[in-house]
């Protein structure tokens, strides 16, 4: 049917008889390609409309740190939606985790345990407490859904009201801050890797990506599966390397303002040398998102937990008959979601440098929208981690791009809402055409 060096084993008879197109040969996911295309289109249009301000290093930097919190939760929402559930409580759960962490570092640890403010353990104990809080609350909601069979929509709708106001009681409704300086480093602008380490991370990431491509190819050859032609493999590798290193280059060209640098030198009792410059580089929060994305992708694709999540979403009965404990699976999925809410809470409160009552408000809608724009099907069984992150990035780009060209806030929401519906429509048409999913 096909020569050894042509690829798609999967396509139906009528397609495989035709000559392979470029995309087929590269074996890239057309949906991923479409989303990247949409993102590039959005970026270019806004760049033209803002006279080149949209794609400045400064704005790219801001865009990435604004996306992190929603994107981290969106990766968890993929699992929740894939198993045919929904989580409306993520914004409220983020607030509770944020409140716990803020109270830990400013009140409970110093006052109850006598660990002085500024002690190096404080941020880590606080983050640990936040993660446990998120995972336990998530697991509890998962238990209500999986074992007591209350629909997730109801459990988490209740959770939305409960956890938002539990957060209120934990802090007596006050804004808690300033947060620990080390803790604040997870927020974005207050914690960046600088030029040198950004390059190190970028180069390591490139090597890892290329190694992954190579080992996949070797694995296929070992089992006599067809592989891509070498040039296609090289082209794909070049694109990936270019994207990673390009992003690092952009982030590394966003320079720290001179006034801020001077203040930093002064605080150390030094004088800034003339002509000294430094760039922000990769924010720690973005690095955190990348790590979360990799871990979640590995869970989704390479572990039985991920396999069971997708199998259960595709056919819950089949999963159960195959001996999968779908109830416990629900608990695990919601626990992961809860832990990710806690990680997002670290990023969100660190970015604001304090915990406030309204932190994470409406995040549930942004997170669900990001997952859905990213191709997660509400019917279950289908979704990707990278899609959800791209979805979050597209939404944030739309919002901040419109803010830059001075679109009224109400109109911004109208546009984002319409884009959500349109994206799902396009996805439905795409699936119908390709017969995938």
């Amino acid at each position: 049917m096909s020569t050894p060096d042509t690829a798609t084993r999967s396509s139906s008879g009528s397609q495989s008889s035709r000559k392979k197109s470029l995309i087929d040969t590269l074996e890239v996911d057309t949906r991923l390609l479409g989303m990247i295309g949409a993102f590039i289109l959005v970026a270019i249009v806004f760049n033209i409309m803002t006279d080149g301000r949209f794609l400045t290093p400064r704005n790219v930097f801001n865009l990435t740190i604004q996306t992190v919190s929603v994107a981290i939760m969106a990766t968890g929402m993929v699992f929740v939606i894939v198993t045919r559930h929904i989580d409306l409580s993520v914004g409220a759960l983020l607030a509770t985790c944020s409140a716990v962490m803020a109270m830990m570092q400013t009140a409970w640890l110093p006052q109850l345990l006598g660990i002085p403010l500024g002690h190096p353990l404080i941020p880590w104990l606080a983050i640990g407490a936040g993660l446990i809080t998120g995972a336990v609350i998530g697991a509890f909601q998962g238990w209500l859904t999986g074992y007591l069979l209350i629909p997730a929509f109801i459990v988490t709708l209740g959770g939305l009201l409960v956890w938002r106001n539990v957060a209120w009681y934990l802090t007596n409704g006050q804004t808690i801050g300033p947060l620990d300086p080390t803790f604040q480093m997870f927020g974005g602008i207050n914690g960046t890797l600088g030029e040198f380490w950004s390059w190190v991370i970028g180069i390591l990431a490139t090597i890892a990506a290329l190694a992954a491509l190579w080992s996949k190819r070797r694995d296929k050859l070992r089992h006599d599966f067809p592989v891509k032609p070498v040039w296609a493999e090289l082209a794909l590798g070049a694109i990936i390397a270019g994207a990673i290193l390009g992003l690092i280059a952009v982030l590394n060209s966003y320079e720290v303002p001179a006034a801020r640098l001077r203040r930093e030198f002064e605080s150390r009792g030094e004088v800034m040398p003339d002509g000294f410059t430094a760039a922000y580089g990769l924010p720690i929060s973005v690095l955190l998102l990348i790590v979360v994305a990799i871990v979640m992708t590995v869970i989704a694709r390479r572990t039985s937990l991920g396999r069971y999540i997708f199998a259960t979403g595709g056919n819950p009965q089949a999963a159960e008959l195959s001996g999968i404990n779908t109830r416990l699976l629900t608990v695990k999925v919601f626990a992961i979601m809860g832990a990710l809410c806690a990680i997002s809470a670290v990023v969100a409160s660190a970015r604001l440098t304090n915990h406030s009552n309204d932190i994470g408000t409406l995040d549930e809608l942004r997170v669900i929208a990001a997952a859905v724009i990213g191709g997660t099907a509400l019917a279950g069984g289908i979704g990707t981690i990278y899609g959800a992150i791209l979805g979050a990035l597209i939404m944030q780009s739309l919002q901040s791009g419109m803010a830059m060209i001075g679109v009224d806030a109400p109109l911004q929401n109208i546009v984002v809402g319409s884009v959500l519906v349109l994206a799902v429509l396009i996805d439905i048409i795409y699936r119908r055409r390709t017969g995938k999913g």
Binding site: R9, K220, R302, L321, S322, G437
Partner: protein
């Protein structure tokens, strides 16, 4: 000879409806036992008790002359009981290898899924069961009824089932594919498997089975060797719910 499976006085009720009422049934190695009856006669329910999907209210399951406790599909698999359900029990969104190994994935030495090995094993077994099967990497929703059926059967065969339960395996298939499944049943029987077969097609049952059991309203009407009865005898058992009066 001890029977492979010996179901003794099995009963189960769903909210007042006695779905299976004191049914006893046995199955020997290398034998195909057919279950016949109207819709709702209790065939699928009885079989689901053996496959671990339901738990009987009363009665015992003996396997190889030993009493077995089957509370879940996992327990059933531990006794080498494999089931091909009427609804096929495939996750439509996953490709054939993921379905074949669902719940029993092959792992790498680091504990991660070994997809390429699962794919290679699937290719191997499919080459034996259904040589036309090519769409290894496509989600099974893209497959024809017969291809989906072969995935379900491959699952049973791959894991060395000794007891195979087939709930209407040919209901959704074309003529050619039905023939393929029939051939496969004969091959598995020759290998010494015990097979429970559920079907509505009396003629097919007469050809494939060694014995047929007829159920009606949850009760077992009778079990007959196929050479001792005619198709009409069986039909009247199904319809009248009474054993045919034998000439002898």
């Amino acid at each position: 000879m001890t029977p492979l499976v010996d179901l003794r006085n099995i009963s189960i009720a769903f909210g007042g409806v006695q779905a299976v009422d004191n049914v006893s049934l046995d199955l020997y190695p290398g034998e195909v036992v057919g279950l016949l009856g109207h819709n709702g006669a209790g065939k699928s329910t009885l079989i689901k008790i053996l496959s671990g999907a339901y738990k009987a209210d009363s009665g015992e399951i003996w396997i190889d002359g030993k009493k077995a406790v089957i509370n879940s599909p996992r327990d059933a698999r531990a006794h080498n009981i494999e089931t091909i359900h009427q609804t096929l029990a495939l996750a439509d969104n996953l490709p054939a290898p993921a379905n074949l190994f669902l719940g029993r994935e092959l792992r790498t030495m680091f504990g991660f899924l070994d997809d390429s090995r699962m794919e290679a094993e699937t290719t191997k077994i499919m080459a034996r069961l259904n040589p036309n099967f090519k769409k290894i990497a496509d989600p099974v929703s893209a497959l024809s009824g017969g291809q989906r059926q072969s995935v379900a059967i491959a699952r049973a065969v791959y894991f060395n089932a000794r007891i195979l339960i087939m709930d209407e395996p040919t209901a959704a298939l074309g003529v050619h594919e039905t023939k393929m499944v029939a051939d496969l049943i004969m091959e598995l029987k020759a290998q010494g498997l015990g097979i429970f077969l559920i079907s509505h097609d009396t003629r097919e049952m007469m050809e494939l089975c060694d014995r047929v059991s007829v159920m009606k309203n949850g009760q077992l009407i009778g079990t007959e060797r196929v050479e001792d009865v005619t198709e009409d005898d069986i039909l009247s058992m199904i319809i009248m719910g009474k054993k045919a009066e034998k000439a002898a």
